[in-house]
């Protein structure tokens, strides 16, 4: 059973959300700023939204980024979970090897990874674009899924596994009926993190997007020389509002289901 959340808890959580959203709301606010500089407020405008809708480059970059982020989150969730689950019954030496491999993507310098993968995928003649972006992003996302899933598996009783196996359950049955339900929240939360990391990667994406495609972060960072315009703020505001709507809808739907 769950402990009840106290009034203080609700207060703390609300305060946290206020601080969490303040910088984001200032981004939204300045998407309506007539000046292209964040240093001054010169009045309200919808110009940046108008410009946004006629900009095919930013629209395409956004589409690529979303596709890559979703595919990366899916791929990393599968690979990360698989790795965490099999580490339950490999020998200790192999487990150590897995753990070492999982820390590697966290410490390797990003430029080195980007440039090496460029040569590697070149040699394999892989077409640069969504494929190479998803493959490279999942490299630095898999460890996050692995770590989050391991956190839930850590105290799973090995004797449960053994006795389930003794009772004639197949490994597959056990994974499906015991392990996956247990780690499902980890997979979901880690996949959300992967989505965020993929949507924010600049350096590796610069090398992996190839001559024909751009992701949103690469587009934004390569704009810095001539100036990032509030058009980007406008896009982010729309993303925010869209996601809010989706979350609101899903809340409504689950509510209906519960009461009908």
């Amino acid at each position: 059973m769950k402990a009840k959340v106290s009034g203080f808890g609700i207060f703390y959580l609300s305060l946290f959300f206020v601080v969490l959203y303040l910088p984001v709301l200032s981004v939204v606010l300045y998407s309506f700023n007539a000046s292209s500089s964040t240093a001054q407020w010169t009045g309200w405008t919808l110009d940046w939204y108008r410009q946004l809708f006629s900009d095919r480059v930013i629209a395409q970059a956004f589409r690529v980024s979303i596709q890559v982020a979703v595919l990366t989150a899916l791929l990393s969730a599968v690979l990360g979970t698989f790795t965490a689950v099999i580490s339950l019954w490999v020998t200790n030496r192999t487990k150590k090897a897995i753990q070492g491999m999982m820390i590697l993507p966290l410490i390797v310098p990003e430029v080195a990874l980007g440039v090496s993968l460029l040569f590697f995928f070149n040699a394999l003649r892989l077409p640069f674009g969504i494929l190479t972006l998803v493959l490279s992003h999942s490299l630095f996302c898999v460890p996050y899924v692995y770590i989050m899933v391991r956190l839930r598996l850590q105290e799973i009783d090995v004797s449960i596994i053994e006795s389930a196996l003794d009772l004639g359950a197949s490994r597959r049955q056990m994974v499906r009926t015991i392990i996956l339900p247990l780690v499902a929240p980890s997979i979901v939360t880690a996949a959300l993190l992967c989505l965020a990391m993929s949507l924010d990667d600049v350096i590796i994406s610069t090398y992996m997007s190839g001559p024909r495609s751009t992701t949103l972060p690469v587009h934004i960072f390569s704009m810095m020389r001539v100036g990032v315009t509030p058009k980007v703020n406008a896009l982010c505001s729309l993303i925010l509002m869209g996601t809010f709507l989706i979350i609101g809808f899903s809340q409504l739907i689950t509510k209906k289901r519960r009461f009908s």
Partner: protein, 283 residues
């Protein structure tokens, strides 16, 4: 299933990461011992010069600076994020999903823009100062930008979700009957929290700390923009050396220094957490 057959399942993942990440890592190690010519091209000539430079007292101060930033970031995200994760895991299921969604949402927006968002808030002519001036709480703007603490706030903000998600996954699977038992034995809420909940969630804390500490060492534009470039961190230094400095061997040597720092801190941390829980995250 035989032992070798079980281990076989791990082979694809080991080969995949070993090949795609292991090789670049080996190249960085090799690069840190090489030289470069006047065009910035790499010359295959062994040298220890890069490491000699890294060990310069001035650069050691940069290492210390970054270590301080990363440790404090870990601490802040833990102090702020732990309660958030704890409270969230105690919410009813639908509310819990909503809270998790709301926690993750801001991080789908470009971190560069969110950094600008902080500048809009904290600047001398920023929103917070304007509100305080209008309310006559202060009579001249509070200087909040371009300090070490500004970089710290920004870095902690960027990395907060990693801590929250790690602690959440650890708190959420807690065996609540243990807590009940503790209450039944007359322990207070706080005593139960510090004697049962915290030790049982140490793996989550260790995991969150890892995922916050490492990126905190490497982030560069957050501290550049919020710190006003007034302090130098490892991430900035490596980024400059690798790009405009056109000295990738030196950048590689600095990266090796950073990796050494990570492994040092992590092994200390893992040892400590292993003593308490019997099983550390990477042990």
């Amino acid at each position: 299933m035989k032992t070798w057959k079980r281990n076989l399942l791990a082979v694809p993942i080991l080969v995949w990461i070993g090949l795609l990440v292991g090789i670049p890592m080996v190249l960085v190690v090799a690069l840190s011992f090489l030289s470069r010519d006047h065009l910035g091209n790499i010359v295959y000539q062994f040298t220890l010069d890069n490491y000699r430079r890294v060990l310069d007292p001035i650069y050691l101060r940069v290492f210390l600076n970054s270590l301080l930033l990363a440790l404090l970031t870990g601490l802040i995200t833990l102090l702020v994020g732990y309660p958030v994760a704890y409270i969230t895991s105690n919410l009813p299921p639908r509310r819990r999903a909503l809270a998790l969604g709301l926690i993750m949402l801001p991080f789908w927006i470009s971190s560069l823009l969110r950094t600008y968002g902080w500048m809009i808030l904290l600047g001398n002519a920023g929103l917070i100062n304007n509100v305080l001036l209008a309310l006559k709480i202060i009579d001249k703007p509070l200087p909040m930008m371009y300090k070490f603490s500004t970089s710290l706030v920004g870095t902690a903000y960027m990395l907060m979700p990693f801590m929250i998600v790690a602690v959440f996954n650890s708190v959420d699977k807690l065996d609540r009957s243990l807590l009940e038992a503790s209450y039944d034995l007359g322990a207070s809420k706080w005593k139960t929290f510090f004697h049962i909940t915290v030790p049982l969630t140490l793996p989550g804390i260790a995991g969150g700390f890892t995922l916050v500490f490492i990126p905190a060492l490497g982030l560069y534009f957050v501290s550049d923009l919020l710190g006003g470039g007034n302090t130098v961190f490892l991430g900035n230094l490596i980024h400059t050396m690798a790009t405009r400095g056109r000295n990738r061997p030196l950048a590689a040597a600095f990266s090796m220094g950073m990796i050494a720092l990570v492994l040092m801190v992590l092994s200390l941390y893992m040892k400590a957490s292993k003593d308490k829980t019997g099983e550390g995250l990477f042990q």
